[in-house]
Every structure is written in structure tokens, then in C-alpha cells.
Amino acid sequence: MSTQTPILAAEKLGVRYGSFLALSDVTLSIKPNTIHSVIGPNGAGKTTLFHALTGRVRASSGRITLNGRDITHVSDDKRVPLGIARSFQVTSLFQNLTVRENLRLAAQGRTPLQALAPWRGVDLHGSALAIADEVMERLELTHVSERAAGELSHGQQRRLEVGMAVAAKPRLILLDEPTSGMGIDDVEAMKALIRDLGRDHTVLFIEHNMGIVMNISDTVTVMRAGRVLVEGPPAVVRDDPEVRRAYLGNMITGDLA
């Protein structure tokens, strides 16, 4: 196993909501340029893990490092320029703004202070718009670029969700159930997209669709009740007795290519 610095590492990460322990003692390391998935039954703490990693909730205990730099106390908006971006499980777009504007904002968010100057016009040929256009093409959303995000089909919205993360040009992309609610064709397209993203980003994603998880992940982390149960390559995880016990009847098993 190579000893390269993980791009993102969590050490004994814990998140507590009042008296409820949503995450405890989670230790995780994401290797650069890999596709790393997080699976587990509902309530396992997967989304909470994402919230903690992106800074949306504050860790109650433990440490998070990004490229070796401690970001445990960095607020969520400040983690974006450091190279983390995410998509949400429940679609959370700017409903009343156009697709292009959604992506432009996501691209701009990497250098937000530029936007804080009230006299600066929207740079017509600026980099943010260029990135937005580029991402739209990659996601095949160019034909709806001027439509309001709220008017897109569910599949298009989920793609835009992913696009919002990509537009920030991050090193690490966190995707929370990117295929949730999608139909079969959209799912295939998303699977190809994630694989494609894995070529130039590190991808960490939460999924329930085992077909995708087993098929494209380099590493799988299984969570249950706020803790990490097992971690390893897909084949190892799938055959693990603990995992089988935790999941009996709960998983959608997919084929392993």
C-alpha cells in the first residue's frame, strides 16, 4: 500500500446533537485520485459525516485534515477555497435562478471575496462564467442553460447538484446520494459521470445503489450507527460477514463487473 498523504483524513471524528451521538470515533482516510464510497443503512450517520467533513456541522470531537492541514475549526464557506465541494442528498439548488447562474455562483464561490466588491460587474468573459459553461457541457445541461433550476426534471436537477460541486474546481468532491430518485437511464449516466469525475478528482460519495458502489469504487467504507463498521476494496467488503449481518435484506445488491 502506498504511503501517500491522504487528501482528506478524519481522526476519531465525533458529532453530537444534544444528547444524541450521531457520529462517534470515525477514522477515515481518503486517498487522492480514488473513488471512495460510503454506504450503510439509514441513520448510520453518512450524511452527518459529510456535514462534518464539509463543515456544515461542527465536530464535537476529533480532527479533520485536508492535505495534512487541520481544518477541524474552519467554517464551511472557508473550506471551499481549500478544495472541498459537495452535493446534497435533498436537492438544494437556487430554484429561481437559471442553470447557468447556479453554476456561475458555484464557480464564483471559490473566490468569494471578488464578489464582495459591490461595484464589480458580472465579468462577461470572466472565468466563473467560462467554468459554468464548461461544467454545463460536461453534464449535458447546456440545452437548458437559461431555464430556472426549479423547472428542471428531477434527473437534471440531480445532475446540476453534482455540477455545483464540480464547478468549484475542487480536489475532493463529496456527492451525497447522487442518484437518489433517478430513473434507470439517468442512473447509468450518473454512474458514468462519477467514474469520469474520478479521473481528475478524488470522489467521496454516499450511495444506496450497490450496482454503482461495487462497480466503480476503489474503496468502500461501511457505516452503522454512527461508526465505521468495515473499510476496504469492494470485493472484501461484500464478502465481510459483519457487513452481511448488518445488511441482511437491506441492500440492493448489484452486479460486480
Binding site: R86, E101, L116, P118
Partner: protein, 336 residues
């Protein structure tokens, strides 16, 4: 897309300029005409917070009143020129707005609104308590209206011309802000604040900056008002002033800045007409606010749009606003 927005913004500016030119033609009173433009500024500033950032502020009267006091104090107690007095008023508005904004946005939703109202009360009592500075109930009296350069501003229409120029400058500046990347970010914050933060925007800073800009313009408006009536009254910093500015903004429509001009014009002119007939006309205004909030969310501007569309050549008009839902989408209230 930028071309389309430029058209809209230019159209709105032209409309604003037309209003500024038309008022002297249709109104007998230069004072009333000035009042329209002064409150148009205040309403537009309020709209920057409400329509663009999604912040319902009951504190605009604070900045308006402080602007009045700042200008009054400067002109009464120093020999600084008029321009300086106006700048000081804008600065006072901006500084206090930054403070009020910073504190108020520490809470979300309803709490934020309640806080702005509470602050409005605070500053009212502050002005009342320090009567040595503010004149208390009487306010600051006999505020002079010095000439600006070679131009005397003594006559009501002369002053109107001055106010009109400032109004157009301020309107253009606010438009610039609204269509800038900053303004676009405000729209995003209004639309989905959580997402705006998640994609990297320090939302707090944006809101505070919006407050500062709004405060500066409102302070300037307050100063111009004090100069208009020669008095910086306590009522300029009262809750009722905040309420009125907010009502103007909502009646006009929160979709664009020109709508605020409509709202202010409506309020000022109707209140002048009705108050001589029936002093309690505010009763109707309260009812109108309810009606607009429930049934006419695009306000007077929305009405205007519908009127233009109904005309045969109106179909091709490009005056539709860039913002579709004027009242900010928020976490829902529950109940049956």
C-alpha cells in the same frame, strides 16, 4: 443574457429619469415632489435588503432618522458645507446599519425581523433620551439649506432639482450594485442561503455589506428630508417611519428598484391627497398592505406589467423583471 439585463436596467433607469422629469410637470408642490424622490431612495435601499437579500428589516427608520440628525447637527453647529453634511449622514447610516445588521443577522428568520424592530425602538428611545443632542420631542429646528457652489437651493423647485440629480445618481449606483456579482450573490443568498454558504460564500459578510449600502442610502435620504423640511424630527427615527418605508417598498413591488419608486410615489402622493380629506387614511393603508401581501405580490409594478401586457403592443415588451418571486421564500410556517 447580460445584454437582456442591461436592457431591463436601462429601461428602469429611463423610467426613473422620466419620473424625475415628470414630477415638476404634474405637481404643484416642489416640496412634495422632493419628498417623492427622497422616499424613493429610501424604498430602493429597503428593497436592496428585502427584494434582493431576502431580509425584512423594520430598522430602516433608524438610518433615516440618524441621517436627518447627522445633517442637522452638521449644518447647525459647524460651518461645513452641504456636501459634507450629506456625506456624514450617509456614513452615519452606513456605520449604524453595519452594527445593527451584524447583530440582527445572528438570528434567522422571524427572530431577525423582531430584532430589527427592537433596535428601531432602541434608537427611538436613544434619540428621545439624549434630548440635548437631538432636541428630543421637538427635534432639531431651523436647519439651514446652504447654497451648493453658486446654486442657491432656497426655492422649492431649485431644491427639487438638486434632489432629483442625487436621486438619479443614487438610483444608478444601486442598480449597478444590484446587477453586479455582489448583487447576484445577494439573490442567491435570498434564494437558498444554506447552499450559498456551502459553495463558499461568507454569507454573513454579504448581508452586512448589503446593510451598509442600504444604511448609507437611507441616511442620505434622511439628510435630504431634514433639509427639505428644515427640521430633523423625532418622528424620522420612530417605528412608524420604518413601517412606512417598508410599506412603500412592498406596495411598489420587490421585483426591481424602479418598483420602489412607484411605491414611494404612491405613498407620498396618496397620503398628501387623503390626509387633507381624512386624517386617518392610514387605516386604508393597513388594509392595502394586507391585500398586496396576499393578492398582489408583485405590487404596483406587477400591475403595471399586466397593464402593459394587456395592450396590443405590450406582448413584445421586455419589462418583465429579472426576479420572479418578490417575497423571499423561507422555511414554511405550519398550521392548517
Amino acid at each position: 443574457m447580460r445584454a437582456a439585463i442591461m436592457n431591463r436596467a436601462s429601461l428602469h433607469f429611463v423610467l426613473a429619469a422620466l419620473v424625475a422629469i415628470a414630477l415638476p410637470l404634474f405637481m404643484r408642490s416642489g416640496t412634495l415632489a422632493s419628498e417623492v424622490l427622497i422616499f424613493a431612495m429610501a424604498a430602493a435601499a429597503c428593497n436592496l435588503l428585502l427584494g434582493y437579500t431576502g431580509l425584512l428589516s423594520f430598522g430602516q427608520g433608524i438610518f433615516f432618522g440618524l441621517g436627518s440628525y447627522a445633517a442637522g447637527l452638521t449644518l447647525l453647529h459647524t460651518s461645513l458645507p452641504l456636501g459634507v453634511a450629506l456625506v456624514l449622514a450617509a456614513i452615519a447610516g452606513a456605520v449604524v446599519a453595519t452594527g445593527v445588521g451584524w447583530l440582527s443577522i445572528r438570528r434567522q428568520g422571524v427572530y431577525f425581523v423582531m430584532l430589527t424592530l427592537a433596535f428601531s425602538q432602541f434608537f427611538y428611545f436613544l434619540a428621545y433620551t439624549f434630548k440635548d443632542i437631538t432636541g428630543g420631542d421637538n427635534g432639531l429646528l431651523n436647519i439651514p439649506r446652504p447654497a451648493i457652489g453658486p446654486f442657491s437651493l432656497g426655492g422649492s423647485w431649485a431644491y427639487y432639482a438638486f434632489v432629483a440629480v442625487l436621486f438619479l445618481l443614487v438610483f444608478a449606483a444601486l442598480q449597478r450594485v444590484a446587477s453586479s456579482t455582489f448583487g447576484r450573490t445577494l439573490l442567491a443568498v435570498r434564494d437558498n442561503e444554506e447552499r450559498a454558504r456551502a459553495i463558499g460564500f461568507p454569507v454573513r459578510n454579504f448581508k452586512i455589506t448589503a446593510f451598509a449600502i442600504s444604511g448609507a442610502v437611507t441616511g442620505l435620504a434622511g439628510a435630504l428630508h431634514a433639509l427639505l423640511i428644515g427640521v430633523a424630527p423625532l418622528s424620522n427615527i420612530e417605528y412608524h417611519m420604518s413601517e412606512s418605508i417598508l410599506i412603500m417598498t412592498i406596495i411598489g413591488g420587490t421585483g426591481n428598484l424602479f418598483a420602489s419608486v412607484l411605491g414611494a410615489g404612491f405613498y407620498v402622493i396618496v397620503s398628501d391627497l387623503l390626509s387633507s380629506i381624512w386624517p386617518r387614511w392610514l387605516l386604508l393603508l393597513g388594509g392595502l398592505l394586507i391585500v398586496v401581501a396576499l393578492f398582489m405580490q408583485k405590487g404596483l409594478w406587477g400591475l403595471l406589467e399586466r397593464l402593459v401586457e394587456a395592450l396590443p403592443m405590450g406582448r413584445k415588451s421586455s419589462i418583465k423583471s429579472s426576479i420572479e418571486s418578490p417575497i423571499p421564500p423561507e422555511s414554511e410556517g405550519r398550521g392548517i
